[in-house]
């Protein structure tokens, strides 16, 4: 005689697999994003100040102003590319049939 069929019940999930929670302290996506925005803005301000000091003849070195401008530009470009990647990853996830 075959074993009795147990009724289907809500089996508890193993402890290691938990659904992705909302913001849980450091490392959350919103924090990373806003700190990136802040860094881009601060680099941009530093570059503006440096260029202004150079133009007004107050002793700012030429290469300092140029490197500050380069850093701000690179940070901004990197930020844009990262944002694009994040957006396309999000769109891919949304396309998945669940």
């Amino acid at each position: 005689m075959p074993a009795p069929i147990l009724p289907v019940s809500n089996a508890p999930l193993p402890a290691t697999i938990q659904p992705a929670g909302a913001s849980t302290g450091s490392g959350s996506f919103r924090d990373v994003f806003s700190s990136a925005v802040q860094q881009v803005e601060s680099l941009g301000k530093i570059a503006s100040t440096s260029v202004e000091k150079f133009l007004s003849g107050e002793g700012e070195e030429l290469h300092t102003a140029i490197m500050a401008t380069n850093r701000a530009e690179l940070a901004f470009d990197l930020f844009l590319q990262t944002r694009n990647k994040v957006v396309s990853a999000y769109q891919e996830v949304m396309k998945m049939q669940l």
Binding site: V51, F76, N84
Partner: protein
């Protein structure tokens, strides 16, 4: 749309152009009897943000030759080189500023 630094860069380039014109006429008149070297007070004009034409003034502290001409060809040729270099710096920095806005527009279209 472009930030404040772009306006300052443009003013800087305006003043450099005005100065370069005076340098060119100083060099042309290097042998004219009685000619006095002309220049602008660059820093004062730059700090004064009004968009007026810069004031032309005479330069102090130059030695005068017997015919009344006080053009120092060393000073003028060095100013010629420095003006051209600074103009190059300012236009490159301005291009960077414009490039920032352009890439923001371009990347915004892609998403």
């Amino acid at each position: 749309m472009l930030n404040a630094i772009a306006g300052q860069l443009e003013r800087y380039m305006d003043l450099l152009g005005a100065r370069q014109k005076l340098v060119a006429s100083n060099i042309a008149n290097a042998d004219t009897p009685g000619y006095h070297t002309q220049d602008i007070d660059f820093q004062a004009e730059f700090r004064n943000a009004a968009q007026l034409a810069p004031q032309v003034m005479e330069v102090e502290g130059l030695s005068t030759k017997n015919d009344g001409n006080n053009v120092s060809i060393d000073r003028e040729s060095r100013l010629l080189a420095e003006n051209a270099l600074r103009f190059s710096v300012a236009s490159s920095l301005l291009r960077s500023q414009i490039q920032l806005v352009r890439s923001a527009i371009k990347e915004g279209q892609g998403s």
